[in-house]
Symmetry: C2
Subunit: 384 residues, 2 copies
Amino acid sequence: MTAGPTPLPPRVQAALAEPIVYHRAPAFDALFARVLARLPMVFQTSNDVIVLTCSGSGAMDSAFANLVRPGQPVLACAAGKFGERWIELGEAYGADLVRYEPGWGTRLDPAVIDGLLTDRPEIKVAFATLSETSTGIVHDIEAIAAVAKQHDVILVVDAVSGLGAADLAQDAWGVDVVVTGSQKALMTPPGLGLVSASPRALEFAADQPGGRYYFDWAMAMKEQRKSSPATPFTPAVSLIAALDAALAMIEEEGFAQTLARHALLARATRAGVLAMGLGLYGDPDERANVVTAVALPETIDGGKVPGILRDTYGITANGGQGELKGRIVRIAHCGYFGAFDIITSLSGLEMTLAQLGAEIDLGAGVGAASQIFLDAGVNATASA
Amino acid sequence: MTAGPTPLPPRVQAALAEPIVYHRAPAFDALFARVLARLPMVFQTSNDVIVLTCSGSGAMDSAFANLVRPGQPVLACAAGKFGERWIELGEAYGADLVRYEPGWGTRLDPAVIDGLLTDRPEIKVAFATLSETSTGIVHDIEAIAAVAKQHDVILVVDAVSGLGAADLAQDAWGVDVVVTGSQKALMTPPGLGLVSASPRALEFAADQPGGRYYFDWAMAMKEQRKSSPATPFTPAVSLIAALDAALAMIEEEGFAQTLARHALLARATRAGVLAMGLGLYGDPDERANVVTAVALPETIDGGKVPGILRDTYGITANGGQGELKGRIVRIAHCGYFGAFDIITSLSGLEMTLAQLGAEIDLGAGVGAASQIFLDAGVNATASA
């Protein structure tokens, strides 16, 4: 039930347990070439996707290392904990930071972004989040990208928690840079950072050389584009083998179907939560396909929900982070999840809330979710 | 036979294949606490060791990010491909670089380092390498650390390929910072960077805040020192589980015995190579316990050796890198290796050289190595 690292499919676990492959041997070349060929599918791009050995936050760091110099004006949008990471990065690297913070649980407003970029035409790079895991909100990246394009601004999107669960058509929407990690919808353990940068973004980075080494995109690209694709530094070979297995599963399911499955799981979750008489936190809509933030009743001690779910029902769940501590519980449906994972989560939540004294009609949430799955047909509910 | 990633023990592979643990759940807390408690053993230190999700080069990058600012004078020592990485880092980050490059295959001379630090008393940080994988040389870090101490200079040692195979008594020798990766003597897949920084080095870093985020040591230390140790960013949990299993094996073998096993494997390898009538490349001595660089006969096409070993004998081996291409082959004995891995390597090398037309007395190298193992007793030759 957590928003990541998400459960591993048995096939991915089996790939992890394979004997280690030497990263400069032909067996690895073939594996890595296959991964590089498959990655553009999940980014919906024709860019070569850069594979870094780091977590998703390392991939975010690489965007600053390659695109931003101290004193350079940038726009950072944040409406939750992960958006705030862009602000922390801007502060750490001494950027001239324009902050857009409409508040947790709010959707970023493209019109406000338009205004901020109009006020500060010297801004060349902007940062936003696809799925804000802390609140469940999926932002309207398509509209934000259109605004960025009007201002000739490079848009960098943190899709660490969203890519592969929420739609992000990088090329069609004109998003310059998308960064993600391996451990969410990509069903791989954490430890790989992925960056899809447009030719324009790569040129922009090349115009600001130096100040980076391990995270240098050009260095990675040069190695990846060799006839035997390589990496400048020893890569996490076992995680790349796992990613290969996971991408094969997504390819077999069909990426459009992967997105549709996540949409269905999210729809069933929302229906279940509402049928339990609970609210959805913030301003979620039909794009909120990664994690559902459930507003807990004020009559109960919400801080106890994750502990009871874990200790009594064996369900690992996320409560609220930061200012939402004790006020929400989050049901993830991102990655290797199927209908009965949602049923289990809702059922466990029903019992937990009843145990804490909330008025809950046991089975109501589960029933509403089941109705959604039933209407959609069994095939659509199978996990990858 | 490659110098890393090295083979995984079955127990480490099994740990990798375990279901993924959520990094903010009690099960991970206990695992991570165990790893943090065991790591100082291999660094021979009382420092808390920082665990980063990155490869060894990322840990090297973190030393620059935390200790060096643009324009700051630093000394970088390089006598091979991996030493040159310090120089590349210095150039990338715009340090005022004093380079000490005595040439590949040479041992770094502490007296020369003393002279360089005397000439440039404004140097506060120096960089060196424990085991230079490209040449097989293990540098005299004990003597270099003594020189650095005299000049009140912070010494940073790249022990990526050496830690756990060659002796490095961090606290006893007074080495301020040691960085390594998970994939060599630590018998874990690549993807974890480890940093042991002395209190003095951490203070020096704290005096130069900003300019780093993902690799910030203080941020990592703050999370690791919580009552439930954590990481600032999602860690590579499956690799940490693997490292836990590997450290348990080292603990069971006894770390002194781990070092003694590596010394024995290296001694047998050197004896075998010499008995085959081949030379040892460069200036190796009894410290060269990580990888043995074998000088190939000039009468054969040395560039063909790794390919024949791989395709005919199923042995993955490293040839020379950079200027040593075709001139050497390297036999690794670092990590999960025992006596019969050395016997296999030497036997495969004998047949390969014979196939290429060299005058080789088949069995001579294997025999000499066997004599070393026999003299040492069977127990000392068992792999971990």
